[in-house]
């Protein structure tokens, strides 16, 4: 494990390597050394896990990178708002509205704690990671980018952290420059350094975890590098946050984006975190109600943050549901979960490795999160996925909104299995069995 903090190791995880030079080792609040996380302790909270996909076929849900299952408390929180106090927020003075406003703003506090943000006002509710990134690209970008400026990305990025930057670059005359992705599917940090040295980079949008290779770029180190060269850093935490709370201040990031539905919350809500000075300097992107203090016929005064960036009625139910999800996740034994997910990834590598002609796209388990993308000789990922579904195994196939990454590896599509804390060793074995079955349908047999 390298010495630089990845998004999730910055908070509370006992280091497995030496402490960074000049720093005391961080001790986790709960003594968890060696403690094993038992997914059975949480599976009962997720209704779909006890259901059959079709008669006699249990669900083996391994598509968590696409979206996570929701625990019962999230369903209850959504039902409570929608059924008991479905009032609009901020503008009402009656009892229902006050209750809704309190729940909504409490949700904001919950998010700020999960991220380790310094101030609640630095948390903006959006529709998701994609919208959050677009807000920064457009609102920050239009005010700050000019011809000659550079945006430093890589092909490791999901389309949602690439296309918005393509668009703003075209609009402002800024240029996209690309760091390298190594053969093992990790970001080449040295190439980031070389590109930063030009002094022209203004923004480094980077993923906290690749949704294809599972690689976890060293965010704290990249933040230091970016700042040393006058650039800001935005972290796409869509894949990394489901694997544990983070600490945006310890990481030193300027912006961070994530989606509610991937952290076991509802769809339709996400978060943009931004440091206060940046958000205050940025003009709003969406205009309308709530983001104004005063409106005349031809102009308006903006509201303070965060509401400056929350035009119109926000996703109230969804934000309350997201808070319930984060409150469910926060007290879990994250260091033990990291070890558990690590073990699942190792087992996935092993069971897939026992099958003929499987190529995994990404580094070995120790250097990534719980995402395993792969190809098989003789069977297209679509067919792997379709046939796995027969055995109740849910995986995803295609380019996973990462076409440049697939092009980098000469592939048109991969199959992808992705775990979360509630997955089990048995489910990984079912994955191996399903892929083997799919291969046999196409006449590909194991040689041993």
């Amino acid at each position: 494990m390298d010495e630089s903090a990845t998004v999730n190791s910055a908070r509370g995880e006992p280091p497995t390597a030496e402490a960074r030079p000049g720093q005391e080792p961080v001790r986790s609040k709960t003594s968890t050394v060696g403690k094993v996380f038992d997914p059975e302790s949480v599976r009962g909270d997720f209704p779909p896990l006890s259901r059959e996909v079709r008669p006699g076929v249990p669900l083996t849900y391994l598509d968590n990178a696409a979206t996570a299952l929701k625990p019962r408390v999230v369903l209850e929180a959504l039902a409570a708002y929608t059924g008991e106090y479905p009032a609009n927020v901020h503008r009402g003075l009656h009892a229902l509205s006050e209750r809704a406003t309190e729940a909504f703003e409490d949700a904001r506090v919950t998010v700020s704690r999960f991220l380790g943000a310094g101030e609640v006002e630095e948390i903006i509710f959006t529709r998701g990671t994609t919208e959050s990134i677009n807000v920064v690209a457009q609102a920050w970008g239009r005010a700050n980018l000019k011809p000659g400026d550079e945006i430093l990305v890589s092909v490791l990025e999901h389309h949602s952290n690439l296309v918005p930057w393509q668009m703003i670059a075209r609009e402002t005359g800024a240029t996209l420059v690309f760091a390298d992705v190594l053969e093992d599917g990790t970001l080449d940090v040295a190439s980031v350094g070389r590109l930063l040295a030009s002094g022209r980079v203004k923004m480094l949008p980077v993923t906290g975890m690749s949704n294809v290779t599972g690689a976890t770029p060293p965010v704290a180190e990249l933040a230091r590098m970016a700042h040393a060269h006058g650039a800001l850093i935005l972290v796409d935490a869509a894949q990394s946050l489901p694997h544990g709370p983070c600490d945006v201040r310890a990481l030193g990031v300027d912006f961070l984006a994530f989606s509610g539905h991937k952290v076991c919350g509802p769809t339709g809500v996400g978060v943009l975190y931004g440091r206060r000075p940046l958000l205050e300097a940025m003009p709003p992107l969406f205009g309308g109600g709530s983001m104004v203090l005063r409106v005349g016929r031809t102009d308006a005064d903006w509201n303070d943050i965060p509401w400056k960036f929350e035009a119109g009625t926000p996703p109230i139910a969804e934000a309350i549901g997201l808070a319930a999800a984060l409150e469910y996740l926060a007290p879990l034994d994250w260091p033990a979960i990291h070890r558990h997910e690590q073990a699942l990834a190792e087992r996935a590598h092993r069971v897939l490795g026992e099958l003929p002609g499987i190529q995994i796209v990404g580094p070995e388990p120790a250097r990534k999160g719980g995402i395993v993308s792969f190809t098989s000789v003789g069977v297209h990922p679509h067919d792997l996925s379709q046939l796995s579904d027969r055995e109740g195994v849910a995986i995803r196939a295609g380019h996973h909104c990462a076409m440049p990454l697939h092009e980098r590896f000469g592939l048109s599509a991969t199959a992808r299995a992705s775990v979360l804390f509630y997955n089990t060793v048995e489910e990984i074995d079912r994955l191996g069995h399903a892929i083997g079955s799919a291969q046999r349908v196409f006449g590909i047999k194991a040689t041993h």
Partner: protein, 144 residues
């Protein structure tokens, strides 16, 4: 929907189709991608002077449904008239498979059909404009 989808017939069309290959002098050609997943199909048709499709070949890469679909469509239209081929509806194409597909996989199966229709349409539009004559007298001039 289970064994009917990956039945032997489909696998044979996928793995060892008699229609995979290229024509030396195709009259109608179209190439399409399924951008969702990288399926790729190229359809080539040789058309006789009376508008009969003498030969069909396909090439490409991708999932079993995209490739088998191309093969089964080629088998279906070879020897037919261009107008019959043009008249193959999406429903008829799906009937060749005979299994209900999810929307995502419908796109895989229909890729070859779209390519073929595009190839035929190119011939129709060039026939419709009097300034363009097809030098080797292919069937493009004789559609009703």
């Amino acid at each position: 929907m289970d064994d009917a989808l990956y039945r032997e017939e489909i696998l044979d069309h996928y793995r060892s189709s008699a229609y995979r290959g290229h024509l030396t002098a195709p009259d109608l050609v179209a190439e399409l991608d399924n951008p969702l997943c990288g399926d790729h199909i190229r359809m080539e048709l040789a058309v006789g002077p009376d508008g009969t499709i003498d030969q069909v070949r396909f090439d490409g890469h991708g999932c079993a449904l995209s490739q088998a679909g191309a093969s089964m469509l080629a088998e279906h239209v070879e020897g037919q008239s261009l107008s019959t081929a043009r008249g193959v509806t999406p429903e008829a194409m799906l009937d060749l498979l005979g299994v209900r597909l999810t929307p995502t996989r419908v796109k895989c199966w229909m890729l070859a059909w779209r390519a073929m229709q595009q190839a035929i349409l190119k011939a129709v539009t060039s026939a419709a404009s009097p300034a363009e004559t097809t030098p080797n007298g292919d069937g493009a001039t004789s559609l009703p």
